[in-house]
């Protein structure tokens, strides 16, 4: 069967090229910025920040662990915001953006679990500790957001999938504080001692290093988000092109 190009195919394509909002910062500049920032953060973490008095060298993983955790939260909140935009304003890009934000959040969440486990192993000799509430919270969120992918890929692409995904993403931001509260409550039941990780010695180079790592991870995550978004849009454009030519 020979492919027949419909006369309006060109019009369709030109229209589809405009799908997806234009971003203010171009992607190459963003990638370069995140490279510089991540390199700077690595240099500061390994060569400038002083060793922790109690925990020594292993404490340095916190510069990444905490930054990644906060960035993952930012991803989940951004996803919920996009989901809200989808439901209220019917923003045509919001569904894909919400999905990509959750995808990045889940990847970062896996990294949080990994870095937290490494630290727990070195510091306490166990790969997993239920008393480490940030880790437990991330496990709950990780399970929750993994189910998001099950839900999304169990539906046909279309308005219903966008709606259900958006509603589920909104549930996520309600679950984050509720789970946090719940995990704090279990500590009162089984483990009354609360570890204060950030003692009063949080100043000078430690603070600078932490802030740079935080910004570096945020920018890096945003770069990844933009890369994935661009890829997904390209993918859907190719699919449209194939449909037009079929």
């Amino acid at each position: 069967m020979t492919p027949v190009v419909r006369p309006d195919a060109g019009g369709d394509l030109r229209q589809s090229r405009e799908v997806g909002r234009t971003h203010r910062i171009p992607l190459p500049a963003l990638a370069a910025l995140s490279l510089v920032l991540v390199t700077l953060a690595l240099a500061l973490v390994f060569f400038v920040a002083p060793n922790d008095a109690d925990q020594g060298f292993s404490q340095r993983i916190f510069y990444f662990h905490v930054s990644i955790a906060l960035t993952a939260y930012a991803c989940f909140v951004a996803a919920a915001w996009k989901a809200f935009r989808h439901l209220t304003r019917r923003d045509p890009d919001a569904d894909l953006e919400s999905y990509v934000a959750i995808h990045q959040g889940v990847i970062l969440g896996a990294l949080v679990l990994l870095t937290g486990s490494i630290w727990a192993k070195i510091s306490w000799g166990h790969w997993w500790l239920w008393s480490e509430d940030q880790l437990v919270l991330f496990l709950v969120l990780f399970l929750f957001y993994c189910a998001y992918f099950m839900l999304r890929y169990s539906l046909e692409p279309g308005p219903q999938r966008a709606n259900l995904s958006a509603v589920y993403a909104l549930f996520g931001v309600v679950l984050i504080p509720v789970s946090f509260l719940a995990i704090r409550l279990t500590k009162g039941l089984i483990h009354p001692v609360v570890f204060t990780r950030h003692g009063p010695n949080f100043h000078g180079w430690i603070l600078v290093t932490y802030c740079v790592s935080q910004v570096a991870i945020l920018v890096f995550a945003y770069t990844l988000y933009r890369v994935e978004l661009a890829g997904k849009r390209l993918d859907s454009r190719v699919r449209e092109l194939k449909e037009v030519l079929a």
Binding site: L87, L155, L164, V178, A182
Partner: protein, 212 residues
């Protein structure tokens, strides 16, 4: 007022259906008692109070899942949901009516399960019963909502536990705390907060689950 009437009519429909077909409730009853027996052999000897209250909460959760998995099956088989969406009532009434009906099934199942639990394991205190009552509200509100989502997917019943269990972890924390801690007040408060928050979210967003 007409909202309450709509919810009542929808819940009555489900209860009537159950009364005639007797699909769900006997299955839930049998399941919860069988789970207790399984747990007795899984935790040999006499389990501690903490372990026993844990297994009570696991049994309640899975029994509820059994009922919730069935909740939207008649709607799907008879294509009732399309009709309900077209009906001149608020869409959230569909969710609330279904939640009330599942709550009735769950409470009926627990009316048997809790005395059986007290007979087999440990006697129950008032805080546990209150905790179960508060948890039931949250389980039915969130579970029904997710049931409506799951029934729209290809995976159907397979998806419901995956969606529901992470959201039910705070319920288990509150419930176990209410039955095991010395001062259950704040756990009960937490359960009430959970119910309120998620009921609000479900009520506000159910429209988007059933419409496009």
């Amino acid at each position: 007022m007409s909202y309450v009437r709509d919810v009542g009519a929808l819940a009555r429909k489900d209860l009537l259906l159950e009364l005639r077909a007797r699909d769900t409730l006997p299955a839930m009853l049998l399941f919860v008692v069988a789970t207790f027996v399984v747990f007795h052999f899984a935790l040999p000897g006499s389990p501690s109070r903490l372990a026993a209250s844990g297994l009570l909460w696991v049994s309640i959760l899975f029994t509820a899942l059994l009922g919730l998995g069935r909740a939207f099956v008649p709607e799907r088989e008879q294509r009732v949901l399309d009709g309900l969406v077209l009906a001149p009532c608020d869409r959230s009434a569909i969710w609330l009516g279904k939640s009330v009906a599942t709550l009735a099934f769950l409470v009926a199942a627990e009316a048997v399960a809790l005395p059986v639990f007290a007979l087999f394991f440990h006697p129950l205190n008032g805080a546990t019963v209150l905790g179960v009552a508060l948890a039931d509200l949250g389980i039915c509100a969130v579970g029904t909502f997710l049931g409506a989502m799951a029934v729209a997917t290809r995976a159907r019943e397979l998806l419901l536990p995956l969606l529901f269990l992470p959201l039910a972890i705070p319920i288990v924390v509150g419930g176990v705390g209410a039955s095991a801690a010395g001062s259950p007040g704040r756990y009960l408060g937490f359960l009430a907060l959970y119910d309120l928050l998620f009921a609000l979210v479900c009520w506000a967003s159910f429209e988007y689950v059933v419409t496009e």
